[in-house]
Every structure is written in structure tokens, then in C-alpha cells.
């Protein structure tokens, strides 16, 4: 099965530093999405990158996708204490697979220290 697996599992940085989280998956995908989850709360959609895209930006977020390595990275620049959360990548199946479910990784727990 295709799975997003993030690393590191936990990351602690100082406010103002950049945070990089990585995600690897096993099989072909259509899209890869990144979500944020504050403790005990819902999943907030951050960014979607399609399999034919290599890089995408949204504010302080930068996502890259390398389909040859089956990996993606999420970079948060100039981190803030409010960025403290768990970050998940989620993949879906390629076109024609007949499946639209997302497969989530275990997430990276980011702590930004003020």
C-alpha cells in the first residue's frame, strides 16, 4: 500500500529558524497533501502538490516533490510559536486506480520554542 512516512518524528527549533519535514511513500501517487494538526484538533489543509509538479509555495510554506525518489519535503520558514503542531503528509492513488482515499503518515511533531 502507498504510505506517507514522515521524518523526523519530532523536531524542536527556536522561533525564527526554518523547519524541514520529509515524507516518503511507496507507490505512484496522483497528489500529495500536507496537513497540520494542533493537539486534539482537526486537520488543517496546508498545501496540495500534484504528481506533475516539483515545487509549490504558500506564504511561509514551501513544498517539494520528487516522484523519482517518492519523497516530499515541507519547509516552514521563519517559524513562529504558533507553528507548533503535528504535520502530516497524505497521498492518494494514481488516476485509474479507482481509489480516492488518502493514506496518512504518522506525522512530525514540531515544537517551536519562543
Amino acid at each position: 500500500s502507498q504510505q506517507g512516512e514522515e521524518d523526523p518524528q519530532a523536531l524542536s527549533i527556536q522561533e525564527g529558524e526554518n523547519a524541514t519535514m520529509n515524507c516518503s511513500y511507496k507507490t505512484s501517487i496522483n497528489n500529495l497533501q500536507w496537513y497540520r494538526q494542533n493537539s486534539g484538533r482537526g486537520l488543517v489543509h496546508l498545501i496540495l502538490i500534484r504528481s506533475n509538479e516539483r515545487e509549490k509555495h504558500s506564504g511561509r510554506l514551501r513544498v517539494t516533490l520528487d516522484t523519482s525518489k517518492k519523497s516530499s519535503s515541507l519547509l516552514i520558514t521563519a517559524s513562529r510559536a504558533a507553528d507548533t503542531a503535528s504535520y502530516f503528509c497524505a497521498t492518494d492513488a494514481p488516476p485509474g486506480a479507482g481509489s480516492y482515499q488518502l493514506t496518512f503518515g504518522k506525522g512530525t511533531k514540531l515544537s517551536v520554542i519562543p
Binding site: N30, N31, Q33, Y35, G40, R41, G42, L43, V44, H45, L48, R50, F88, A90, D92, P95, G98, S99, Y100, Q101, L102, T103, F104, G105, K106, G107
Partner: protein
């Protein structure tokens, strides 16, 4: 910004009882989903629903589970006879399209179910 809303936010129920979790998806969306997250574990897919029928379900979604769209706005998940292992956060989600055309899926805040 439109959002997916879920009720209740937290429910405690006795083992064997029936539970209904309710969701109002984003109004112009066509695809609806339920996912769950057991404490400390991954978010897992349960079921997707399109055009008033289940389009896909996982192994978790056994005969104890059912979904319904009783009217034009609500989407419900029913667990017929709850077990201890059903304790989890249940997320409703919706998307405007499925699959290829940039399937951004928006999630609600979740319903935290505790079975005792």
C-alpha cells in the same frame, strides 16, 4: 472560509450502545468522507460517499458502521454497537471533486468518541 462542521465534539458512550456522529460538509462539495484517528496513531480512511452511495470503504468499515446523507446538508456516521476499540477521533471531510482534478480534502474539527 467555508468549513466542515462536526457534532458532537466529544461523546462518551457505553460499550454496545449506538452512536451517530454528524457532519455538515462544505455546501458545494460532492464527495464526503469519514476518517478516524486512534490516539497516538495514524489517521485512517473509513469510507467515501458520492452520489448518495458508498464509493469506497476500508476494512475497518465493517457491518457495524453505516453512513447516510439524510438531507441535502448532513452526512452521518453510525456505529451500531460500539466496542472499546472504537474509541477514537472521527473526522468528517469533503471535497469538491474526486481524484485527478486536485483532490483537496477539507477536514472538520473531529468528534472525539470514548467508549467505556
Amino acid at each position: 472560509e467555508p468549513e466542515v462542521t462536526q457534532t458532537p465534539s466529544h461523546q462518551v458512550t457505553q460499550m454496545g450502545q449506538e452512536v451517530i456522529l454528524r457532519c455538515v460538509p462544505i455546501s458545494n462539495h460532492l464527495y464526503f468522507y469519514w476518517y478516524r484517528q486512534i490516539l497516538g496513531q495514524k489517521v485512517e480512511f473509513l469510507v467515501s460517499f458520492y452520489n448518495n452511495e458508498i464509493s469506497e470503504k476500508s476494512e475497518i468499515f465493517d457491518d457495524q458502521f453505516s453512513v447516510e446523507r439524510p438531507d441535502g446538508s448532513n452526512f452521518t456516521l453510525k456505529i451500531r454497537s460500539t466496542k472499546l476499540e472504537d474509541s477514537a477521533m472521527y473526522f468528517c471531510a469533503s471535497s469538491g471533486t474526486g481524484g485527478f482534478f486536485g483532490n483537496t480534502i477539507y477536514f472538520g474539527e473531529g468528534s472525539w468518541l470514548t467508549v467505556v
